[in-house]
Symmetry: C2
Subunit: 176 residues, 2 copies
DNA sequence: CGTCTTGGTTCGGTCAATGAACCATGAGGC
DNA sequence: GCCTCATGGTTCATTGACCGAACCAAGACG
């Protein structure tokens, strides 16, 4: 039985990469992992993905060593990006940049700030102030200026309504 | 009726980008367009994609202004990347880089050379000699060293068995 | 002991992908 | 003109992935 996800006969690293992360939802899960999302229910609530599909994708990503699954002391499973997963940041950023350039005009969107110098990330991934290309651990995602606080009720949307360092866990938000 | 390709409710440029180029085959078509593939039959032969799906994807990509369709004097349709499509190079490159880093060990793969200085492109997209990050128009794709000339019979594979500048049309290969 | 949360699995229905067959147009040979 | 082939599709039946809703098991909590 051949794998259903396979692009047959493509001796190409792009095809190989897309076999792993090219399925529906997969890169959005990775994006949320960069935001610090780690729990099944938070992925579920933020993405609106069917549970069965989320189970499948999390198993695939952990099986490929992109996410690491740890059962926390509380008994809840937690998922976090491995080094291999964090190497997907250029891909995630390039999609963000392209989507923002060609489809972001109708609505302003989140921006990314370089932790050290406070500069804003430009389309090419460089910090607008100091010119370096920061990795995800050096970035803070900022809400768009006129973000309505009531945009969405889920924990992740609430956590991202204030500046949030990438790769740091989504904190429990105190009831307002 | 909601669009089947939509990620509902995601106010995010990444989700927006994936709605357009996140479907199966789409980014491989874009990759081939960077290689200079322009004809329906060449995409078909190189990718092994079902005709109906290729029709659908080419219509989608031209509808979104990523590819431009021109009916050549010969009567054949030709597809080429627009400026918006060429802005997908960072995404394509990042996937190539990630796939090569984590899944390329079993088999060496194509490398990319910077036209000006001849340096080889590193994983971060920089030219190994001069340090700039070249765009696709400044790159040449090189076959892997021990490439068997008989690897695949289709025109595109043959054209890529010798060094080939990106974005230049796949030339007719003279019979050997 | 009953209820709630978490993290799933199962199931029927729907929709997209697949491969094979069919078709329309235009070019070239004769 | 007539036949044939290449190109660029469309149509169709089958398969498989995605979907939402329902169900389930284990642990926390009262």
């Amino acid at each position: 039985m051949t794998l259903p996800r396979e692009y047959l006969g493509q001796d190409c690293p792009i095809a190989r990469a897309l076999e792993i992360i090219g399925e529906r939802w997969t890169l959005l899960i990775v994006r949320d992992a960069f935001y610090g999302v780690s729990r099944f229910s938070d992925f579920r609530d933020h993405l609106g993905i069917p549970r069965a599909v989320l189970t499948d994708r999390l198993n695939l990503l952990t099986g490929q060593g992109i996410l690491a699954r740890v059962t926390a002391a509380s008994g809840r499973d937690e998922y976090s990006l491995t080094a291999k997963g964090r190497r997907l940041w250029p891909t995630v950023w390039s999609l963000n940049s392209w989507g923002n350039e060609f489809y972001g005009s109708d609505r302003p969107c989140r921006t990314y700030a370089h932790n050290g110098c406070g500069g804003t990330l430009a389309a090419d991934g460089r910090c607008g102030s100091c010119g370096v290309i920061p990795g995800p651990a050096e970035l803070t995602v900022l809400p768009w200026p006129d973000a309505p606080a009531t945009s969405k009720p889920d924990l992740v949307s609430q956590a991202l309504s204030v500046p949030h360092k990438l790769l740091t866990p989504i904190a429990e938000v105190a009831a307002s």
